[in-house]
């Protein structure tokens, strides 16, 4: 099983040079740490920045400079600032190439649920609904199962959904799967030491297994 850091590390391998990327809160934020330095990518923060840099050193902390998770950040050279309408114009207009975000459930047709648990306090969807409805490529970082062992890769989402038919790929603690355009989770890679049988038993939705499934590799 992958740690959160390993999930982030594996997702970082999906990043291509020249991409503008929006990273959600949680594991997706960690992805930034594993993107190879020789790739030219730009991280977008939907509160109004292109060019997120590392957390600032103590003397450079600036309350006027935060990311969408409300953490203090820095800017890389060549950054640009803009307002919230312009930010979502970028997202909705398809200018952000890749969105990486967390999920509570994903269905085999690519629906995602990550904003609301009925009966619990609802905090709101933030920018997630805009992001999943807009990005051309959406990769989800998630746990394969809940703490009590229930699969989160489902035939249909049980929770209120955030967007329909939008997820392209999932990196979970057990596997890398792609969503088939015809429906179904196509198993692409196994976490080190995890068997195809285990993944199968922990995937409630349709799992498509074609040929040998390699183990993930980490440099």
């Amino acid at each position: 099983m992958l740690t959160k850091e390993q999930i982030a590390q594996r997702i970082a391998k999906e990043v291509k040079t020249g991409q503008y990327i929006n990273l959600g809160i949680g594991i997706p934020t960690l992805v930034a740490n594993y993107i190879p330095k020789d790739l030219d990518v730009v991280l977008q923060s939907e509160n109004g920045l292109l060019g997120i840099g590392p957390f600032p050193t103590e003397d450079k902390v600036d309350p006027d400079l935060i990311n969408a998770g409300k953490q203090t950040i820095s800017m890389v050279p060549g950054s640009a600032l803009f307002n919230s309408a312009e930010s979502f114009a970028m997202i909705r207009g398809g200018h952000v190439h890749l969105t990486i975000l967390g999920a509570m459930e994903v269905s085999e047709n690519g629906d995602i649920a990550n904003w609301k648990i009925p009966g619990k306090m609802v905090k709101g969807m933030g920018g997630a609904m805009d992001l999943v409805a807009s990005a051309e490529n959406i990769i989800v970082a998630m746990q394969h199962c809940s703490k009590d062992g229930q699969s989160k890769l489902l035939t249909e989402c049980s929770l209120p959904i955030t967007g329909i038919k939008c997820v392209k790929k999932i990196v979970s603690d057990l596997a890398v799967v792609e969503i088939s355009p015809e429906g179904g989770f196509i198993l692409k890679e196994r976490a080190p030491g995890v068997s195809v049988e285990e993944i199968k038993s922990k995937t409630e939705g349709k799992l498509i297994i074609e040929g040998e499934i390699p183990e993930m590799t980490f440099e």
Partner: protein, 231 residues
Amino acid sequence: MINKTVKNAQEAVADIPSNSMLMMGGFGLCGIPENCIKALLEKEISGLTIVSNNAGVDDFGIGLLLQKRMVKKMISSYVGENAEFERQLLSGELEVDLIPQGTLAERVRAGGAGIPAFFTPAGVGTEVAEGKEVREFEGKLYLMEQWLRADFSIVKAWKGDTAGNLIFRGTARNFNPIMATAGKICIAEVEELVQEGELDPNQVHTPGIFVQRIFQGDNYEKRIEHRTVTK
């Protein structure tokens, strides 16, 4: 030029009545109109509807207005980090209308720009779409969303001039410029107020036409929600 200066926050918010609809700039606690929030707290008003991306924290920002039970309804995209908010919501004292962040931003922009409705893909197939018109354009489904406008919009900028022109700094810009356009009366508080002619017209983010009142605020706390640093 038309001089928009008022003396201070008290004067700026003096005529905001109970039950009015306010827009407030800011994302989290970043770029919020601290002085106007304090001045509102001194007023005996209630029943406010507030359009703001977030609802502050328990003891800062809009959270202070919630504590004093001045707010009837929040229109926001994300309202976590606030226990008093949660208590009032669960007890039915407070209403909340949750809107996808990009839709919220675009509805406010539309309100300022005289666009009564537009189509967006955000929320298609979700409960956000309930009761809304869905239409297909070029093979993709979109929801029709309507403009948002307010009686007053209250924004915070870095610099401003007496003509009402505003310049923002960093990500404290966020919702401020669009909300400035969508209030019948826009109140702007700035860290530094200069005379007309002292700002470069090329660098103005919010032209003065949108701002009816401006003043220089003081004692900005600029509280940080998550102080994250590289050692």
